[in-house]
């Protein structure tokens, strides 16, 4: 059964140096507050996994938490590049970043295999692209019935997956609605999981399009209102599109990024961080 903890406790207990860590949320419900808590706790040597490393991973990479990134699309959506990600890949700043690069279809299927207890997944993908030349987690497999050649990718089984959801009840059952992305698969594929939620409520009123993760499939739940900002939480708040633009000016230079880190991450009090 999921335990209800503070964000600091959840990250402290579940995320260790050197871990494989997935933060998921496809545009919607990106666990930004949890990402910043990992930075505050100065985790190092993480292998970060995420289909769309956007601002949340630009921050973790710029802060030097990661040694490797497994991903399929790294950009600031609607704005442009992730400057911290580019600085790490092109210049090794602040630490070198190894990359393992897939397509969305490949990453999604890697999580599906992980959630399914299978060692690999099969898809029609990558054929003719240059990705298999640089990514050794893409292989070929032959259909035992038709002889067709398909792509195989290994399961992703993160040490810990972190997602943000709208609500949990006091027993730790988690409720998500709107775009649900690959979050269920990320949680089920992981050895441990942390779900930050907008609120913990007495009863989960059913919502059309909802997905419920039973308490016993989750390790910890932390109440973190506004924990997805600047992304959005359907039913709670909208995407802060201006912040995505604003991030471009922060992330562009090492100086401005380090100022941001100090001011907005390291010098913030606990109560500012948790929003309570």
């Amino acid at each position: 059964m999921a335990e209800i903890v503070s964000l600091a406790e959840g990250v402290g207990r579940l995320v260790h140096d050197g871990d494989v860590v997935a933060l998921e949320g496809f545009t919607h419900l990106i666990p930004h507050a949890a990402g910043q808590e990992i930075i505050r706790q100065r985790r190092r040597d993480l292998t970060l996994v995420r289909m769309t490393p956007d601002i949340v991973y630009d921050q973790l990479i710029g802060a030097g938490c990661a040694r490797k990134l497994i991903f399929s699309w790294g950009g600031n959506p609607g704005v442009g590049s992730l400057h911290r990600f580019r600085d790490a890949v092109q210049n090794g700043w602040p630490v070198p970043l190894e990359i393992e690069e897939h397509s969305h279809a490949g990453m999604a299927n890697r999580y599906v295999a992980g959630a399914s207890g299978l060692p690999f997944a099969v898809l029609r993908g990558y054929s003719g692209t240059d990705l298999p030349k640089h990514t050794d987690t893409i292989k070929q497999i032959t259909c035992p019935f038709t002889g067709e050649q398909l792509a195989a990718v290994p399961a992703l089984n993160p040490d810990v997956s972190i997602i943000h959801a709208q609500r949990a009840d006091r027993a730790g059952n988690v409720q998500i609605w709107g775009l649900v992305g690959v979050q269920k698969e990320a949680v089920l594929a992981a050895k441990r999981s942390l779900v930050t939620v907008e609120e913990v409520v007495d009863e989960l009123e059913p919502v059309p399009g909802q997905l419920v993760l039973p308490s016993w499939a989750v390790t910890c739940v932390a109440e973190v209102p506004h924990g997805a900002h600047p992304s959005y939480a359907q039913g709670y708040y909208d995407r802060d599109n201006a912040y995505y633009e604003h991030w471009d000016s922060i992330g562009r230079k090492r100086d401005s990024f380090e100022d941001w880190l100090r001011e907005k991450v390291f010098d913030r009090t606990d109560s500012e961080v948790t929003g309570k």
Partner: protein
């Protein structure tokens, strides 16, 4: 760059590109929409000649009907107005991979003469790129599995190259017959819509040739914006300039999307 219609209406070459791209979509088609230029064009089509165009976004929406331009591929309005919201694995496995989508609408950082797309790295050395681009996203499988692919991209010598530095998404590979050899089921890029005109694959060689010029653009101008020796179709035609209705709708969409 601006041009002038018969009605003396002024419009930008980007507007012409979006409108030409929108016109390429047929009503009732299922269109897998990338963000940016493709999304603008697809939403414009839905509000003009193709009200029953089915918009599919990789964030997990089937049949979105946004009343403004979505700010991102996962804008809440896409889920709120969709016929069905599904998980990301389901988008790729149940809807894209089996070939249910008519048109994949893609952008490109680099495009080559066989319509191959690069959105990964600029430069020859993957490990030490000149420029690190965002990467593949959904594009490789969109390019593989949609019945056909339309690419919308601004044309320049820098982006239209003889051979892409990295094949992120396969167009026609190294020419005619390559898609079949690679087991790719869709027809690949059948249209490349730029701010200058429209390119189509030559039926014999699959090399992209200039088949349509936007109003006010000359062939030489397009050749100068192309990094290979661009051939011109014998059936070269002129794009009709934007109608007042098209322009008004496009501008209202963009205004509402701000």
């Amino acid at each position: 760059m601006t041009a002038t219609t018969e009605a003396q209406q002024t419009y930008t070459s980007d507007e012409m590109m979006s409108i030409a791209a929108a016109r390429a979509l047929g009503d009732g088609q299922r269109c897998f929409v990338g963000i940016g230029l493709p999304s603008t064009a697809a939403n414009l089509a839905r509000r003009t000649h193709a009200p029953d165009l089915v918009l599919i976004y990789e964030s997990g929406t089937l049949g979105s009907k946004p009343d403004r331009l979505p700010a991102s591929i996962g804008d809440g309005i896409l889920a709120e107005t969709a016929d069905a919201v599904i998980s990301v694995p389901e988008v790729f496995n149940y809807w894209l991979q089996p070939g249910r989508i008519d048109v994949g609408f893609l952008g490109a950082a680099q495009l080559d003469k066989f319509g191959n797309i690069n959105t990964t790295v600029i430069g020859d050395d993957y490990a030490n790129p000149k420029v690190r681009l965002p990467g593949a996203g959904g594009a490789p499988e969109i390019a593989a599995s949609c019945r056909e692919v339309f690419v919308v991209v601004r044309q320049s010598k820098r982006s239209f190259v003889d051979r892409v530095d990295f094949v992120t998404s396969v167009g026609h590979g190294s020419g005619k017959g390559d898609r079949e050899r690679l087991g790719l089921r869709g027809a690949g890029p059948t249209l490349v819509i730029t701010d200058l005109g429209i390119l189509r694959p030559d039926p014999e060689t699959s090399e992209l040739v200039l088949s349509q010029l936007h109003e006010g653009v000359e062939v030489e101008q397009v050749r100068e914006a192309t990094g290979w020796d661009l051939k011109v179709s014998p059936d070269l035609s002129r794009t009709a300039p934007p109608s007042e209705a098209e322009l008004a709708t496009l501008r209202a969409l963009k205004e509402a999307g701000k």
